[in-house]
Symmetry: C2
Subunit: 229 residues, 2 copies
DNA sequence: AGGGTTATTGTTCATTGTACACCAAATAAT
DNA sequence: ATTATTTGGTGTACAATGAACAATAACCCT
């Protein structure tokens, strides 16, 4: 094989860190590999990129095949390309993360042969390939991003309570926040609309329900902000 | 050509946005392409990644071949992989940016056939491939990064004045800063050491020279900070 | 009716950000 | 030598933001 030919003995893939929030913890959607290498191990969902497919399209395809979801938040993080990261050849992978509302997620039975399931981010077992490293990098990026734009809302159902929102931020940022200060800050942004509805069926004082103001939300995503907590 | 084969009719490259600072403006090092496609156009320095070469190693190699510099600040930004971004085939590229002290830069005559030269970032002409887009993304990342860690120092000579430092931040962030507030903030970090030396040969009151405290610098790079200006 | 659980609300103090103007020290020009 | 020109260096008052902190309200369950 000539030098020039060997430039083309390579492929690229996408891997997608799909984050979800179950109301109290940040989760990631992992598949169990059904074939070697790393058969039986947990891994990030991913696939080779088709020859005529854009990278982002490939990431969207992986997401849709696994969850049936389209049009969700998706962001590239970076490329991982260590020479020996894939045992079968030179494969560099482009890492994406996406944010999904777990309630929208309908398991796709036949799409991937593999079983997909939610796992808590922290204290995670060893994953296939360099996927622990990829996951860690994506989490760092999410933590940074959530301070710059209100993307955390992508993980919540349309109606939510302030406590749910706070728990989301706490689980993303891995920190505890002061309840009163959090509320003061988030409400002062005029990003939330009070729905004048209450939780029902809870065995304690019911909380108000909010949704976010779509216009303000777009502004914040585009212009960014500094959300120090 | 079968579907499977066509997965391997692809290649990946690195492109390096090399930033420099001439004392008043942020610059980027561009080459003039000596061969098609885009012959004669300005482009980012880049190259295909060798089969047994890590991505970062490739970026370092491109930088060294062009400038003779090793061990300078280098950071991956993201991958660019639109299907038709390269007219000769499917080539995705991984973008890096690096920060160099222009005084250290010794032009490499024979290394690349192309001519390399510094260009001001703003009001840049049209570059080859999607390099305008890549450059723009790298600049955005630099702007974010410089607020989180003191990496701006990588662009300055070992001894510098506070005014030079301020002009660096102003040219990176494309904004004007208040002199007194800037000095108050930067000095309060205990990141700078007063060298008890003065500028010489300037036609005005000479400024004090500073260097940065290596220990503090490392701490800030690792732990990060919030540098709101 | 009372216990359990979570929701909601405001003030004080410390810290940080922001706006702003004058004198000092060097060279250059006359 | 005097003056002009240029950039360096410094402090204060006010506003805004961040941080710490605890008592009452509303629902369900028994």
């Amino acid at each position: 094989m000539s030098e020039v030919d060997s430039f083309f003995k390579s492929a690229f893939s996408v891997d997608n860190v799909i984050f979800g929030f179950d109301g109290s913890d940040l989760k990631v959607l992992l598949i169990q590999r059904g074939a070697p290498p790393f058969k039986g191990k947990l891994a990030l969902p991913g696939d080779l990129v088709y020859p005529n497919e854009n990278l982002e399209t490939a990431a969207e395809r992986v997401l849709e095949q696994l969850t049936g979801l389209r049009g969700v938040y998706l962001e590239q993080v970076k490329a991982f390309g260590a020479v020996n990261r894939h045992p079968l050849g030179r494969v560099i992978t482009i890492a994406y993360y996406s944010l999904v509302k777990t309630k929208d997620y309908t398991p796709m039975p036949a799409s991937f042969a593999q079983v997909a399931s939610w796992h808590t981010i922290h204290h995670l077992e060893e994953l296939a390939f360099d996927h622990n490293q990829i996951l860690h990098n994506c989490l760092l990026q999410l933590q940074q991003r959530v301070r710059m734009a209100p993307i955390g809302f992508e993980l919540l159902p349309p109606k939510f309570t302030l406590t749910e929102l706070q728990q989301l931020y706490e689980s993303i940022l891995e920190t505890e926040l002061d309840k009163r200060n959090f509320r003061k800050k988030i409400l002062s942004m005029n990003l939330l609309e009070d729905l004048n509805e209450m939780q029902a069926g809870v065995a304690h004082r019911p909380a108000k329900l909010y949704q976010f103001d779509q216009e303000r939300y777009k502004q914040f995503v585009e212009r960014g902000y500094s959300f120090d907590l």
